[in-house]
Amino acid sequence: MKFWISSLSLLAFFFVLTLLGVNEYFFFAGFVVLQFIVLATAWNILGGYAGYVNFGVPAFLAVGAYSAVVLFKAISAPIVVQILGGGVMAGLLGLGVGLLTLKLRGIFFSIATVAVVFILETCVNNWRYVGGATGLQLTRPEGLWLFSTYTRFLFFMMSLLALIAVATARYVQTSYLGRGLRAVRDSEEAAECSGVPTLKLKLIACTVSGALMGVAGAPMPMYLSFVEPTSIFNLSYAISALGMPIIGGTSHWVGPLIGAIVLATVQQVVTVTISSELNVLVLGVLLIVFVIAAPDGIIGLFKKWKRFSK
């Protein structure tokens, strides 16, 4: 109950912010932070809970984005339909990739997910309807409903999506599904011999995780008013989606949330104050520091501190 009260209060606060005269850049940067929360949370459902490291994040993100583009171009679908369409298509991709690759373990699964990125990028590069390799310019509406600008509206939509993603990850963690996925991560053979239908659980996790990544990608074309394959299929999305849960802690749904807020905020500050080129360096340094000094992330550090202070 506490979770829902605080989440809905935060959502209401964001809504009020969009109606006030806050600088437009806040919403532009806030959208990225919230999108990173969705991505990190989605990645953690398979990568953190079940221990299957997915490097295919850009593929899922792109399927969400390009599904939205197709829906917009074909039937002028509203953004909510674009997001739903992107989520469904990316979820189906998750199911398909899962069926083909989840019998592989460890590094083999990870390599297979990288291959999905390159395959889809090649397809999009040669698909003229969505702009091919040169990309596609989109004209977005001025404002919507109560929101004075479309950026404010997208910021609010992404807040809602972040809430849905975090609530989903929290549900998965606390349900029998989460316990089964943890068992898979610790020992797949022992899990199977304890009655856990390991392949089924991994497929559910891969589908849910993929759908949430698609949902995060769907508003991107409208957010940027442009879409092109080189940037959306960039593997830095995969490293960020993996890095944020590692920084925050993979064992709890709060971990990716903390990691995303820390990393995305630092990256936004660096972009504004120093240079956008340093973004990847910031991620790299933070990852090295956390992997060496705090492999259980900020959550792990907090738990240690709590034990120590007792």
């Binding site: 316990r179 089964g180 199977e192 304890s194 009655g195 239908p197």
Partner: protein, 238 residues
């Protein structure tokens, strides 16, 4: 004695290597069966085929008259086949109690206060109740072995396969595990014990089956087995 497990002409090939060749075996309900054989004789492959970790190349396996050949490991566990592992495989991110709640939730289909009580009762039986809330990777070797048996018990098995549960344990610890297996069998659970500690196998088993190079070379009571020339040859050579 009613037949619980029936294995017919079981063969397992790994590429060109035949690990099991035409194995026929029946295990009665409530029986204590010892499975012995030198290293590489096919003991673990046989129980991997029974538990569903491996698919056999040929042959069939029946549990209580039901064909289970094509079933996955988790489906066999749900039908009543549980096992422990040669090298303990705890769910190390979980506490001892949580380790037991995994099979209870996935085999029993529910996960609440009643199930916690059920898990605690099993831990009490194993002498692990005081460690229930300890992280499982903090357990000693003998405690890990007990937890593996406790986790196998939490799946409410009809058939428990103990794969070298006494490996690496000291004398008193071996006796502890042996007593636990006797107690479990006394509740009606059929136990297949794979073990290299011959005194334990001979003390525990009503019947002993000896495997060598993927074939059953003899079976009988412990006293018959120790005198069998095939067994002596398999262990000591010509």
């Amino acid at each position: 004695m009613e037949t619980l497990l029936k294995i017919t002409e079981l063969t397992k090939n790994f590429g060109g290597f035949t690990a099991l060749s035409g194995v026929n075996l029946e295990v009665g309900a409530g029986e204590r069966l010892g499975l012995i054989g030198p290293n590489g004789s096919g003991k673990t492959t046989l129980i991997n085929c029974i538990s569903g970790a491996f698919n056999q190349s040929q042959g069939s396996i029946e549990l209580k008259g039901r064909e289970i050949t094509g079933l996955k490991a988790y489906q066999r566990t749900r039908l009543g086949i549980s096992r422990s592992f040669q090298i303990p495989r705890p769910f190390s991110s979980m506490t001892v109690l949580e380790n037991l709640l995994v099979p209870i939730a996935f085999v029993g289909g529910s996960d609440g206060p009643k199930e916690v009580e059920e898990a605690m009762a099993i831990l009490q039986q194993m002498g692990l109740h005081l460690k229930a809330h300890l992280q499982s990777n903090k357990l000693s070797q003998v405690e890990l072995r007990k937890m593996e048996l406790a986790r196998a018990m939490a799946a409410k098995p009809k058939l428990l396969i103990s794969d070298e549960a006494m490996a690496g344990l000291a004398g008193a610890e071996v006796d502890e595990i042996l007593q636990i297996l006797f107690d479990l069998n006394a509740t009606g659970i059929t136990v297949i014990m794979i073990e290299h500690i011959m005194q334990a196998v001979m003390k525990f088993s009503q019947r002993v089956v000896c495997l060598d190079t993927g074939k059953i070379i003899c079976q009988g009571t412990p006293s018959e087995i120790v005198k069998d020339p095939h067994v002596q040859r398999a262990y000591l050579g010509d």
